[in-house]
């Protein structure tokens, strides 16, 4: 048993949901107890999707346990097929259904549906969300390309597939826009993008391309390795996050097509000049702690060290599958990699390293807040605010621009830090003053308006029970009401009289 306050990744069936939800015409029937439908809200609330994920749950209850659950599952598959008419279906079990040992694959096969039905084995007590996503994409690709012959690509223009963008992916939507744009400028055509937006039939066309771009190794690594083995496709594993990584990526694509990288490729890249401008001098050697999924952690470490000039004070990941890669990266910066999915271990490591900036997931944001350290979010898991409305890629040259801003804004700007040193005793610029962008949160308490009427202690106590974000308004309204009605001593009744009065 593992004592867990917080989990960086969900169970593997959440990964399968992320693939099914990303695709078109694919339906997932999940054998799961009542309550597991909570996962829908990750997609409808955090990613703000405008439709329900294409997932049917059996939602069995205690009274169904026994032979009934198998029938329940078969009915759910049949009903889902009749209602949604999917082009392909995936079936599997969540953690509890894994224990009751119905066989989703066998039960679904017995129905003889006229579409491909792909069973998934996702061991919920060993594996986690990203593994589940990778495994699901792999099985879908394998099923779709089953029987497809290795195509002869000679004499045809070079084409690539982009593998990895999924539902609930951190900045996947905008990364894909950037990478598509980049490939257009490099003159290479895109064959299939998967899973985001792909149909099951599209997956069968994957082998026609020359290479697979593994945009997110955690999700696409397994499928790409299979495609390399089965169809001899090249795998491009450079993740184009950061200025230098994007340059490497462009060079790799250019080598594939036998052309050169166009001169104007970096015309919109501003981060390199920003980093060299004198206001950025203060960034030199600032100590940064980086934690996230493996690919984002590795990419961000390279940016922090070589493109901004930070010192890496710590580097780690919760992706145990990629521990080796993160350890090699950490060695470059002379730190020991932290491989852990225990939030308390990460908290202890950050506290020990005492960095000046933390780059991490939403958990590290809370750790940093508690420790009073500036922080930016660079990896899933994230909350709703990190699925922004505006274009905010991490990939490509625009991604590098976004990242420069993201990594420097939590810190004080150079001039501000300079002033802080000069006016150490000044009332606005002193050691205790937080960065100005933190605004109201850090501001000194504003003197409250003189109170014209008196508050009875019990009324003061009652006021304190009102949530803090409306308390100020409640106080003001009550005093206004008291003044208007000639009440000199505010009681509990006055509070509620005022509340009733102003609610009209």
């Amino acid at each position: 048993m593992q004592l867990t306050l917080w989990t960086y990744e969900g169970p593997p069936h959440i990964g399968a949901m992320r693939i099914a939800t990303a695709m078109q015409g694919v339906h997932y029937v999940l054998h799961a107890p009542q309550g597991d439908t909570y996962a829908d809200l990750l997609f409808t609330m955090i990613e703000r999707r405008d439709r329900r994920p294409p997932v049917t749950y059996t939602t069995f209850q205690a009274r169904d346990l026994g032979s009934d659950t198998a029938t329940l599952f078969k009915n759910a598959v049949r009903d889902a097929y009749d209602r949604f008419k999917p082009e392909a279906m995936i079936v599997g079990a969540s953690c509890t259904a894994e224990l009751i040992q119905d066989d989703p694959g066998g039960l679904a096969a017995a129905l003889g549906l006229p579409i491909p039905v792909i069973p998934l084995e996702l061991p919920a007590y060993q594996r986690k969300e990203n593994w589940g996503a990778a495994e699901t994409l792999y099985h879908l690709v394998r099923a779709a390309t089953n029987g497809v012959a290795t195509p002869d690509r000679t004499g045809r223009p070079v084409a690539v597939n982009i593998l990895g963008p999924a539902a609930l992916g951190f900045r996947h939507r905008d990364d894909l826009i950037e990478v598509t744009d980049l490939l257009g400028k490099l003159g290479v055509s895109i064959n299939v993008i998967a899973p985001l937006g792909a149909r099951f039939a599209d997956l069968a066309r994957i082998p026609a391309a020359d290479a697979n771009i593994v945009l997110y190794p955690e999700i696409a690594g397994t499928a790409a390795a299979y495609l390399a083995r089965k169809f001899g496709q090249k795998t491009i594993t450079t993740v184009p996050i950061g200025l230098n990584a994007t340059r490497d990526f462009a060079a790799e694509i250019a080598a594939l097509t036998g052309s050169t990288v166009p001169d104007d490729l970096e015309s919109q890249a501003r981060s390199s000049w920003y980093a060299r401008s004198i206001d950025s001098t203060y960034l030199t050697g600032k100590r940064v702690f980086i934690f996230g999924d493996a690919s984002h952690a590795i990419a961000l470490a390279r940016i922090a060290a070589t493109e901004i000039g930070f010192t890496i004070a710590g580097l780690g990941t919760y992706s145990r599958e990629f521990a080796r890669e993160v350890k090699s990266a950490a060695a470059l910066y002379n730190v020991e990699a932290l491989i852990s999915d225990d939030y308390l271990t990460v908290e202890a490591a950050i506290a020990a390293a005492q960095p000046e900036l933390v780059l991490g997931t939403q958990m590290e944001r809370h750790i940093a807040k508690r420790l009073g350290i500036p922080c930016a979010v660079i990896s899933a898991p994230t909350h709703v605010q990190d699925f922004p409305a505006r274009h905010s890629p991490f990939a490509g040259f625009e991604g590098a621009n976004v990242l420069f801003d993201t990594l420097t804004h939590p810190l004080m700007m150079g001039l501000e830090e300079h002033l802080l040193g000069m006016f150490r005793e000044d009332f606005e610029f002193n050691d205790q003053a937080a960065p100005s962008h933190l605004g109201a949160e850090a501001a000194a308490p504003v003197a409250t308006a003189p109170i014209l009427t008196g508050w009875e202690p019990s009324a003061e106590a009652e006021l304190k029970k009102i949530p803090f974000f409306v308390r100020g308004k409640a106080r003001k309204n009550t005093e206004l009401f008291a003044a208007e009605h000639g009440v000199t001593l505010i009681t509990i009744e006055t509070i509620y009289d005022a509340k009733a009065h102003f609610s009209r």
Binding site: Q2, L3, L5, T7, D40, L41, T44, S503
Partner: protein
């Protein structure tokens, strides 16, 4: 007070009872508000990564305010029998208690996986309770999806507390059962005191050490409708339930307090003198919101068992038209007083087949749908206004002073739709 009447020829429609996919939370979600209510309790879920993920998804950002809940995640080696489950649980609990010595009450919360592998948490809790010398007290209940739906997690938690309550002996008291907001508890306490009920207790209390005593002279009244098992357990300890509608809205709160007052033999005139002012205030506050809601068609998806009292409040005090009122479970004896107040021809549904219920909902094109977060945005995208139901268990909605706030929770999505031109 007006009683809703319908045409004599009308007959009440049959309750729709359907089985299929249920788009509901499991009882583990109750932890999210229970841990705020009992300020020195800790909730340890014994379950899978899914359980941990559910609780953190439901808790949102709240999880980091030094959370008083966690999950002991069952791993492969626990299932394969390579690790003794009892030893593992003891190890995890010991580590937890060392880390949080301030905890006075620890709940081991059962989940689907722990139920299916038949891990006996009640026995484990008793063993650990003994071992730690009753500090903290260690209790167990099930919040599993196979056993409980959403708010039933609170029912299971309070049911587990009942056997530990002290014996009240011959003391007469009123016990208000169900977690309500602190401010609501204080309002209720003031009203009952003013009426002349001498001893008023709340279950759960705000602290583990302050839980009320129970005995044959305890009369209890439910503040929440989803507490069937707790009511049964209290009955077994000799306490007697005061039947009443639930204290939602001005009418519901008045009837609820009057029922308690009557059970204590209070002179109705005295009750009336205490209730007149807050009841008038509530009615006046409601008048403004009523205009925004009157005549609107409202559809409830099942979620918390609060649906019937809320529907009653919206129909009678806000003038809405009820299209369908769904509830995960309908406890007849606990809902009698509510059902009597519902408009006669209200279509009720118990249980759920979510796809078919969505078909019915779309066909009716209601003005407002009360539903969970998994359905809300997709329905909005289809052009149907929604109010997400989970807010109704987190917000102070009970009592006179909150009546207008409660109505506003439903009026706001409609106001917003009217306001936006995007």
């Amino acid at each position: 007070m007006s009683v809703c009447t319908t045409a004599p020829s009308a007959t009440a429609p049959d309750i729709i009872r359907q089985r299929g996919q249920r788009e509901v939370f499991c009882g583990l979600t109750g932890i999210v508000w229970l841990h705020r209510r009992i300020q020195d309790a800790f909730f340890l879920v014994v379950g899978s990564r899914t359980c941990a993920h559910l609780v953190q998804s439901a808790a949102g950002v709240m999880i980091f305010a030094e959370p008083r809940f966690a999950t002991a995640i069952i791993e492969e080696r626990d299932l394969a029998g390579r690790a003794d489950l009892d030893d593992e649980l003891d190890r995890v609990v010991t580590r937890l208690i060392e880390r949080r010595p301030d905890i006075k009450l620890l709940f081991l919360v059962g989940s689907c996986p722990s139920e299916v592998i038949k891990l006996d948490l009640t026995r484990a809790a008793a063993r650990l309770d003994e071992r730690f010398g009753r500090l903290p007290r260690i209790l167990a209940y099930s919040g599993s999806g196979i056993e409980t739906t959403f708010t039933e997690g609170e029912d299971a938690c309070l049911e587990a507390l009942v056997p530990t309550l002290a014996d009240a002996g011959s003391t007469t008291s009123l016990m208000v059962v169900g977690a309500v907001a602190d401010i609501v508890e204080d309002q209720f306490r003031r009203l009952f005191t003013a009426i002349g009920i001498e001893r008023v207790d709340f279950l759960p209390a705000r602290h583990a050490g302050a839980m009320p005593a129970v005995g044959p002279h305890t009369k209890f009244i439910l503040a929440q409708p989803f507490l069937a098992a707790t009511a049964r357990a209290l009955h077994e300890r000799g306490a007697r339930r005061i039947a009443a509608p639930y204290p939602l809205g001005a009418e519901g709160t008045r009837l609820w307090i009057e029922a308690a007052a009557a059970a204590f033999g209070i002179d109705p005139a005295r009750t009336e003198s205490v209730l007149a002012l807050p009841a008038r205030r509530a009615t006046e506050s409601l008048a403004a919101v009523r205009a925004k809601l009157a005549g609107r068609k409202i559809f409830f998806f099942p979620d918390s068992q609060l649906e019937i009292p809320l529907a009653r409040f919206l129909a009678r005090e806000c003038g809405v038209e009820l299209v369908e009122v769904g509830t995960p479970f309908l406890h007849r004896d606990l809902m009698d007083a509510e059902l009597a107040l519902l408009p006669f021809a209200t279509q009720l549904s118990e249980g759920q087949d979510v796809e078919r219920q969505l078909d019915r909902c779309r066909a009716e094109q209601p003005d407002l749908v009360i539903c969970g977060l998994g359905l809300a945005n997709p329905l909005e995208a289809e052009g149907i206004a929604t109010k997400w139901s989970i807010e109704l268990v987190f917000s102070p909605i009970h009592g006179f002073e909150q009546a207008a706030d409660l109505a506003n929770l439903f009026a706001r999505p409609l106001a917003r739709r009217a306001l936006l031109s995007v």
